[in-house]
Every structure is written in structure tokens, then in C-alpha cells.
């Protein structure tokens, strides 16, 4: 109890201070709300449009969480596969970079053709955008296993599967969690951007809400939707962070 409070208050204080400052500046300079809204304007937009914001957040969350889950699973699997043999890494690692650099806009037509508009396509967008950090960190983690322990597993003739589950995965955990931390934010941005190109207005998520609010110059609503996306990202991040802390606390220097 005491511990989690210690973790929560510093960002909360920072949050409140930053927003007070922001409100002050905007009010002082008389910036119009359509340009940069004050926190109070945004708050009003949140209240007025709470139902829409909520369903939009729900739609985006679904895609982001599913995409993140896929990234976690497939990213760890791919990182593992790449780490298993030097030639596999050499032959395929460069191509995983491709996944990261391909603009979603370019593959969106294909996604839509295969998966249609909506959740499936948006989930795949979130997945594509958040996959690489998990792969790269898993690979890095697996390759820095204590060589002495690796020798021990060879000595006991442990076989690739046991070596994976009992040595490489546990040893790579700190790195995997770093990858997941990065992926949590990217999955949200992937879902939001995915909606721009493959979403549908019938199940409007935060991405399309941002777009249509922005077209109608409802800047406070734009900021509210962006805040919702960030909150979603932060929630995913916090979950990853706490599970990481929980799993590693006993033995890893970084968790102390």
C-alpha cells in the first residue's frame, strides 16, 4: 500500500503542476481555444462528450491491447527464433526492420482488402507498429545470457526447448520487459494511426474522433481524445512496469 502510494504521488504532483502552469499561460496570453485549449476547456470537452470519448476509447483499447498482446507473443517468439542460430539472425533480422519502416498508409489498402474495415485491421496495425521493439530487445536479452550458465546447459545436454524455457527466457526477462514497455506505447499509436486508414466511422475510435474533431475545429475535443490515448498508453505501460517489477524484484539489479 505504502509503496504504491510512493510510486503514484510523484507523477501526480508533476501532472498537477504542469497543468496549472499551462492553464495560467493560456489564460494570460489569451490564446483562443481552437489553437491551444486550456486544461479547463479540455475538461469541459471531456464532460460534454464523455459517452463518445468512452466508446472511442473502448474501440481503440480493444485494438491496442490485442495488438500489444500479439506483439508480445510473436515478438518474443521471433526474437527467440532469431537468437537460436547465427545464420537465422543474419538472414532475417534485417527484414524485421522492414516491418518498422513500412508506412502503415502504404499497406493499409492490403490490410483492408484482407481483413476489411474495423477491429481486425486496426489490431494488425497496432501489432505491426509495436512488434519490432519486442523482437530487438528479446534478441538482445537472449544473446547476453551468462556464458557460464550456457556452458552448464550444454554440459547437461539440455536440448533447445529446455534451454529456452529454463535459461534464455528467464535471463532475457529484463530486456523483454524493456521491449514491452516500448511496445505498450507504440501499440496505442499503431491503433490510432491504423484507424486513420483502416478504421470505420461506424465503430469510431480515438483516431477517427481526433480526425473529425480536428476537421471541425473542436480543438479541445482533439486534446481530450489525445489525452485518452495517452492514458490508455500509460495504463498499458503501468501494467507492464508493475509486472516487470513483480517478476524481477527478487533477483535483478534493475528492479531494486
Amino acid at each position: 500500500m505504502r509503496r504504491s502510494w510512493q510510486v503514484i504521488w510523484p507523477p501526480l504532483v508533476t501532472f498537477v503542476l504542469l497543468h496549472a502552469l499551462w492553464e495560467l499561460i493560456v489564460r494570460r496570453l489569451g490564446v483562443p481555444a481552437w489553437k491551444v485549449p486550456a486544461p479547463s476547456d479540455i475538461f469541459r470537452a471531456v464532460v460534454d462528450r464523455s459517452a463518445d470519448l468512452m466508446t472511442a476509447t473502448a474501440h481503440t483499447s480493444a485494438a491496442a491491447v490485442l495488438g500489444f498482446g500479439l506483439s508480445a507473443l510473436i515478438g518474443v517468439a521471433a526474437g527467440t527464433a532469431l537468437s537460436s542460430m547465427k545464420w537465422i539472425e543474419r538472414a532475417f533480422y534485417p527484414f524485421t526492420v522492414f516491418l518498422q519502416t513500412v508506412p502503415l498508409v502504404a499497406i493499409a489498402p492490403l490490410l483492408v482488402l484482407w481483413l476489411g474495415y474495423g477491429l481486425a485491421s486496426v489490431t494488425v496495425s497496432a501489432f505491426i507498429v509495436s512488434l519490432f521493439p519486442v523482437i530487438a530487445n528479446t534478441l538482445a536479452g537472449m544473446r547476453s545470457v551468462d556464458p557460464g550458465l550456457r556452458d552448464m546447459f550444454r554440459l547437461y545436454d539440455a536440448g533447445p526447448l529446455r534451454t529456452l524455457f529454463k535459461l534464455k527466457l528467464p535471463a532475457a526477462m529484463p530486456n523483454v520487459f524493456t521491449g514491452l514497455r516500448i511496445a505498450s506505447g507504440l501499440a496505442v499509436i499503431g491503433a490510432v494511426v491504423g484507424e486513420f486508414v483502416a478504421g470505420t466511422f461506424d465503430q469510431q475510435g480515438l483516431g477517427l474522433l481526433v480526425q473529425s474533431a480536428s476537421r471541425n475545429l473542436q480543438t479541445p475535443l482533439v486534446f481530450a481524445a489525445v489525452a485518452a490515448a495517452s492514458l490508455l498508453g500509460l495504463t498499458l505501460f503501468a501494467i507492464v512496469n508493475f509486472s516487470g517489477y513483480w517478476i524481477l524484484r527478487r533477483w535483478h539489479a534493475s528492479a531494486r
Binding site: W34, K35, R49, D52, A108, P109, V112, L113, G116, Y117, F196, V197, A198, G199, T200, F201, D202, L208, L209, Q211, S212, A213, S214, R215, N216, L217, Q218, T219, L221
Partner: protein, 304 residues
């Protein structure tokens, strides 16, 4: 694409299910479709119509047979046909193209050419045919051309900023926030492709002529009703698009009327298209090098 035995088009219980994909959110530019759906006009013609609204990629979905009907612009249809994609125009909501360039009235500019030939910034989507047309026609262009991002914040913020607009959308939003926008229609510069066009695939048209005719007939009635009284459909669409208020819906419906109803339509009915105008467009696109092999104008459209 799929063969003639398109399973989604076979009738169930007397009603043929068909899908129409709009290329943006429910807004007055689609009023007639919602009117026809809600007033049961489609049903009366034996159709069970689903309307979906998506931001992009209608061309691909129609071409791939994922939907029976979609909304596209005339230049997109020509481009698609020149690539061998069998898409046919059926019904053009806008006889006059509703795209325009919006600038600040305070600048005192007289025509589109002034926007391009003076310093300033012009935001347009990449790859639009009419932008190439304007650039060619009003060369040398001195305005800085930048991408349009669906927002009018930058327009509001700088006095020498101009941007592409849909006559029923951005100018109204800007006016509501206290700006004084001046809109020049692209059509006035001599480039005037039909817009808001209902399309389908060629083979679907061939094999389901009756369904298509029914769909267009109902759509035409829907639009006529909407032009007479947009209130009901606006209310429906307002539920689906809360970023636009009721007032703006009404204003937009009023503003687009003259682009939909012309002497031509009073004579031949709403949505009608002429071979001559398709021919003109194809010629223009060819000159702009947007297409390499010009499709015959007669294949681009039918007036069912």
C-alpha cells in the same frame, strides 16, 4: 474480382442485401442515401441496404468485390479504368464539383489564379488531379504547396493560408469560429469532374442490372426528398457525426443544393451524366499525364 454468382447479391426473403461504402463520415454530402434508407425507398425497390462510412480505400474495395456500391470521384474512376480496373459510374450526386480553394476574404483575391500566383501557403492532399490542373494552368506558381491534414487550425492561425475544402464542410467550420473565408470553386477554373458518384463493378452491373437499376432509382428519389426537406436525414446523420452541429448540417445542405440540382438534372433527372463531360475529363487527365492509356468515355459510366 469475384464471378457473377456474387453470393452477397443473391436475394434472401425477397430483399436483396447490398452494401454502400461512403468515403467519409455521415455529412450532408451523403444525405440522399440516408433519406432513401430511412424512408424505406430502398426497401420498396426490394433492396436491403447497409451503409458504411470509411475514410479511405473505397476504390480497392469496390474493385475487389468487397462491396456492391461505393462513392468515388470522376477522376478516380478514370484513373482506375486506365489501370484496367472495371469500375463504372452510375449516379453523380454533384453535377458541379464541390471541391474548392478556401482563402481569407481579407486578402481581396479575385479568383483561384490569384491564390496560386501570390506568395502564401496552400494546403492540399497529395496527388489530387485538380491541383496538377491548377498548377499547370496558373504557372508560375508562387504559393508554397503543403499537405492538407483535415484540420483548419493553420488556416485560422495565419492570414495568408489557403487550403482545399469541400464547400459544405471546412468553410462552415471556419465561419463558425469567426473567420471570414472566401471560397473559389475548382469548377470555375475549367476543371469540373462529377463528384459524389455511386459506382459499381462492371461485371456486377452486367449480371445484376435489375438490382443496380433499382438501387439508383431509389437513390434518386432519396436525393429528391432530401433536397426538398433535409431535416429528418440530417437528424439521423447528426447522431452518427456529433462533431458537426445541427446548424452546420442545415447550412451545408443548403449550400450544396445548387451543385446537385442543375438545368441538366431538371431535364434528365438527378445524378445524370453526359458522355461529353467524361470525354473532357479524360482529355484533361491525359494532358496532365495522370493516365497513360485513356479509357473510352462511354465505358466509364451508365445512366441506368
Amino acid at each position: 474480382g469475384k464471378g457473377p454468382s456474387d453470393p452477397s447479391a443473391t436475394s434472401t426473403g425477397g430483399q436483396t442485401p447490398v452494401k454502400l461504402i461512403l468515403n467519409w463520415k455521415p455529412e450532408p454530402e451523403f444525405g440522399g442515401f440516408y433519406e432513401a434508407r430511412d424512408k424505406g425507398l430502398y426497401k420498396n425497390h426490394g433492396l436491403n441496404v447497409t451503409i458504411e462510412s470509411a475514410p479511405e480505400h473505397v476504390t480497392q474495395l469496390v474493385a475487389a468485390g468487397k462491396t456492391q456500391f461505393g462513392i468515388m470521384a470522376a477522376d478516380e474512376i478514370v484513373t482506375a479504368r486506365s489501370q484496367g480496373i472495371d469500375i463504372v459510374a452510375l449516379f453523380a450526386v454533384y453535377q458541379t464539383n464541390p471541391q474548392g480553394i478556401m482563402t481569407h476574404a481579407s486578402r481581396g483575391l479575385k479568383e483561384i489564379g490569384d491564390v496560386l500566383r501570390n506568395p502564401g501557403t496552400l494546403a492540399v492532399q497529395p496527388g489530387l488531379a485538380y491541383v496538377n490542373y491548377l498548377e499547370k494552368k496558373y504557372a508560375p506558381v508562387r504559393v508554397q504547396v503543403v499537405p492538407y491534414d483535415y484540420s483548419i487550425v493553420r488556416f485560422m492561425a495565419s492570414p495568408d493560408f489557403s487550403q482545399q475544402c469541400f464547400i459544405t464542410a471546412e468553410p462552415l467550420a471556419a465561419k463558425k469560429q469567426g473567420a471570414d473565408p472566401r471560397v473559389f470553386l475548382i469548377a470555375d477554373s475549367g476543371f469540373n469532374p462529377y463528384a459524389g458518384i455511386v459506382v459499381t463493378r462492371g461485371d456486377y452491373l452486367k449480371n445484376n442490372r435489375k438490382t443496380v437499376e433499382n438501387f439508383i432509382a431509389a437513390t434518386r428519389d432519396g436525393w429528391q426528398n432530401y433536397l426538398d426537406d433535409p431535416m429528418a436525414a440530417n437528424a439521423t446523420m447528426g447522431q452518427l457525426n456529433k462533431e458537426m452541429d445541427a446548424r452546420t448540417f442545415a447550412d451545408a445542405a443548403e449550400a450544396q443544393k445548387p451543385l446537385i440540382e442543375t438545368d441538366e438534372t431538371r431535364e434528365h433527372g438527378l445524378g445524370t451524366m453526359s458522355n461529353e463531360r467524361w470525354q473532357t475529363l479524360i482529355g484533361q487527365l491525359q494532358q496532365l499525364k495522370k493516365i497513360s492509356s485513356p479509357p473510352p468515355a462511354g465505358e466509364c459510366f451508365v445512366n441506368p
